[in-house]
C-alpha cells in the first residue's frame, strides 16, 4: 500500500511535466505573436528584441519550456503579458476563492444528495422516486450558464435579493453562484447514489442482514450504503475536481474572481503565462483528487486493500488493477 502511494506521488511530477509540455506546445501552436500587442504602434527592431529578451521569447520553444519549468520550481510562474506583473501574484490569491466555492458546493451536494439518493433507492418505484428522478433529469439537461443567468434574472435583477456580480457583499454574493454550480452536479449525484444503492440493496449480504433481524436502518446505512460508497466517492471526487475546472462559466457569469474567471480572461487576451499557471494548478488539483480517490478505495474497502497484499487482480472499479500491473 505504502509502495503504491509513494509510486503514485512520485509519478505526479512526471505527469505534470508532460501536461505542462503539451499545454505549452498547444498554446504556442497558433503562431500569434504575443509581443505585437504589447509594443507601441510603431516600434524598432531593438525595442522588439529587448521585449522578446525580457519575456524569454527570443529562445527556441523547448528552451522556453525548460526555463519556465525552472522558474516554476523556484516559485516563479513568469510575467503576465497583459498586466506585466508577476503571474504568481495574480493567480495565487484566486485559488482560495475557487476552492472555497468548490468545497462548499461539494459539501452541499453530499449533504443533500446522499440522503435523497438513498431514499430514492429505498423507495424505488414510488412517487417520491419518480419525482426526484424527473426533477434530476430536468436539472441535468439545464446548462449551468443558462441556469445561472435565469437565477440572476429572477433573484438579482427581479427580486434584488442577491448581488448580480462580484464578491463584494460577502456570503450573500456566493449564494447564487454556488446554487448554480450545485444544481446540475446534485442532479447527477442523486442518480449516482441511487444506482449505487440499488446495486447493493439486491445483494446477498443485504438479504442475510435482514434475515438475521437487523433493523432496517442498519441494513440500509451499514450494509448497503457502506458497500455503495466506492462509486459514490469516485463520483463525488470527480465532481469536486470538475467544479473547480468547470466553474469557468459560473465564475465568468457572476464575475467571481477565481481560477475559472482568470482562465477565460487569459484565453481572451492570449496571456499564455497566466493560462499555463491556471492549467497547471487545475492539473495538480485533479491529480491530487484522483490520488485521494484511489487511496480512499483501499481505506474503505478491504477487498481492494487485499489486492495490494496478494497482488491478485480483483474486479475493482476504475484504475486500480492496471495501476497495480503497471
Amino acid at each position: 500500500m505504502l509502495r503504491y502511494t509513494i509510486k503514485r506521488i512520485l509519478l505526479m511530477p512526471v505527469l505534470l511535466l508532460i501536461v505542462a509540455l503539451l499545454i505549452y506546445l498547444l498554446l504556442n501552436l497558433n503562431g500569434a505573436d504575443p509581443l505585437q500587442n504589447m509594443l507601441p504602434q510603431e516600434y524598432t527592431q531593438e525595442q522588439y528584441d529587448a521585449l522578446a529578451a525580457k519575456y524569454g521569447l527570443d529562445k527556441p520553444i523547448l528552451v522556453q519550456y525548460f526555463n519556465w519549468i525552472k522558474g516554476v520550481c523556484q516559485g516563479n510562474l513568469g510575467i503576465s503579458y497583459k498586466t506585466r506583473g508577476s503571474v504568481s501574484d495574480d493567480v495565487f490569491f484566486r485559488i482560495p476563492i475557487s476552492l472555497k466555492v468548490a468545497l462548499i458546493t461539494t459539501a452541499f451536494m453530499l449533504l443533500i444528495g446522499l440522503p435523497l439518493g438513498v431514499l430514492c433507492a429505498v423507495k424505488q418505484y414510488t412517487a417520491f422516486d419518480d419525482i426526484i428522478n424527473v426533477v434530476s433529469k430536468f436539472l441535468g439537461a439545464v446548462p449551468s450558464f443558462w441556469l445561472g443567468l435565469m437565477l440572476m434574472i429572477w433573484f438579482s435583477v427581479g427580486l434584488g435579493w442577491f448581488p448580480t456580480y462580484g464578491i463584494s457583499e460577502g456570503a450573500r454574493s456566493y449564494v447564487l453562484p454556488i446554487f448554480t454550480l450545485l444544481l446540475p452536479f446534485l442532479a447527477q449525484f442523486i442518480r449516482q447514489v441511487r444506482s449505487a444503492m440499488l446495486d447493493c440493496i439486491r445483494q446477498d449480504y443485504v438479504r442475510t442482514a435482514r434475515a438475521k433481524g437487523a433493523t432496517e436502518n442498519r441494513v440500509i446505512y451499514h450494509e448497503a450504503l457502506k458497500n455503495a460508497m466506492l462509486p459514490i466517492i469516485t463520483f463525488a471526487g470527480g465532481c469536486f475536481a470538475s467544479m473547480i475546472g468547470g466553474a469557468v462559466t459560473v465564475e465568468k457569469l457572476f464575475a467571481i474572481p477565481g481560477i475559472g474567471y482568470k482562465v477565460v480572461e487569459a484565453i481572451n487576451t492570449r496571456d499564455i503565462p497566466v493560462m499555463l499557471a491556471c492549467v497547471l494548478f487545475l492539473s495538480i488539483l485533479t491529480i491530487v483528487v484522483q490520488l485521494l480517490i484511489d487511496l480512499s478505495y483501499a481505506w474503505i474497502d478491504p477487498r481492494v486493500r487485499s489486492t495490494f497484499v496478494s497482488g491478485k487482480k480483483k474486479k475493482a472499479p476504475a484504475k486500480k488493477p492496471e495501476e497495480v500491473k503497471a
Binding site: 499545454i23 434574472i153 473547480i244 475546472g245 469557468v248
Partner: protein
Amino acid sequence: MSKTKAPRLKKNSQAAEVWQSLIHRPAALIALIGCGIILFLALFADLLVPYDVAIRQSGKIKLLAPMTTDIYGKLHLLGTDNLGRDLLARVIHGARTAMEIGLISSLISLVISTILACMCAMLGGWVDNVIMRIVDVISCVPGMVVALAICAALGNGIPQLLVALTISSLPLHVKMVRSVALTVAKKDFVESAVALGAKPWYIMVRHLVPNLASVILINGTAQVSINIMQGATLGFIGLGVKAPTPEWGTMLADGLSYTMKDQYMVYIPGIVLCLAALSINTLGDCLRDALDPQLKGKA
C-alpha cells in the same frame, strides 16, 4: 453467405426489439419525437428558412418581441435579436450547428476510443500501457479546460470545436469502453478464436465490437448531449463557432446585455438547448434500459 446472414438476422431482431420497447414507453416516445424534431430541423433547415434569413442583419427591425410584425409586414414568431436577425431562423439553423457539433464529435471520439480500447484489450502489454498513460495525461486536466485550451490555440470555427470536443471527451470513453472490452476479451469465445489462430484485428471486428455495441451506443447518445452543451458553453464564453453562425450558446451570449428588458433573447435559446439536451438524455436512458437491463438506473 449463410455465415454472414445468420448474425445479421439476429441483429435486426434485436434492433426491432429495442425499437418496440422504445415506442411503448411514453417517456421514450416523447424523447424520440424530440430528437426527431431536432434532426428534422438540422437536416431540412435550409428548406424551412433560408440560411440568409438567419444571418441577415437589419437595424430597422432589431429587438422585436416575439409574435410581433415588423415594418415589412413580416411576422416574427420568436422575435428578432439585437442585430435584427429573426430568432426562429437562428434557432432552426442553430439546431443544425448543434447537431453537427454533437453528432460528429461524438462519432469521431467513439470510433477512435473503440479502436484504442479494443487495441488495449486485445494486444495488452505495452500497447495498453502506452494508450492508458496518454489517457491518464489528458485526464489530468479537466475536460472543459482541455476544450478551452484547444479552442484558444486553434481559434474559432466548427472544425476546431470538433477537435476540442473530441479530444476532451476521449479519455472517459477509452476508459469506459476498455473496461468492458477487457471483460469481453476474457470470454471463452475470444479465447477459442485465439486458439483457432484468428488475428487480433479479426477478433476485434468480429467479436469485440459487436459485444461492445450497446456500451458504445449508450455512451455515444449521452456524449451527443454533453458535447452540444459543451459546444454551447464554449460559444457562450466566446470560443465556439465563428461570429455569424447561428449557435444556441452564442445566441445566449448575445442576449446577455439585454437581460433587463428583452429577456426573451436569453429565454429562447436556453429553453431550446434544455429541451434538446433533455430529449437526447432521455432517449439515451431509455436506450440503455432497452439494450442492457443489467445497467438499468446506472450513471
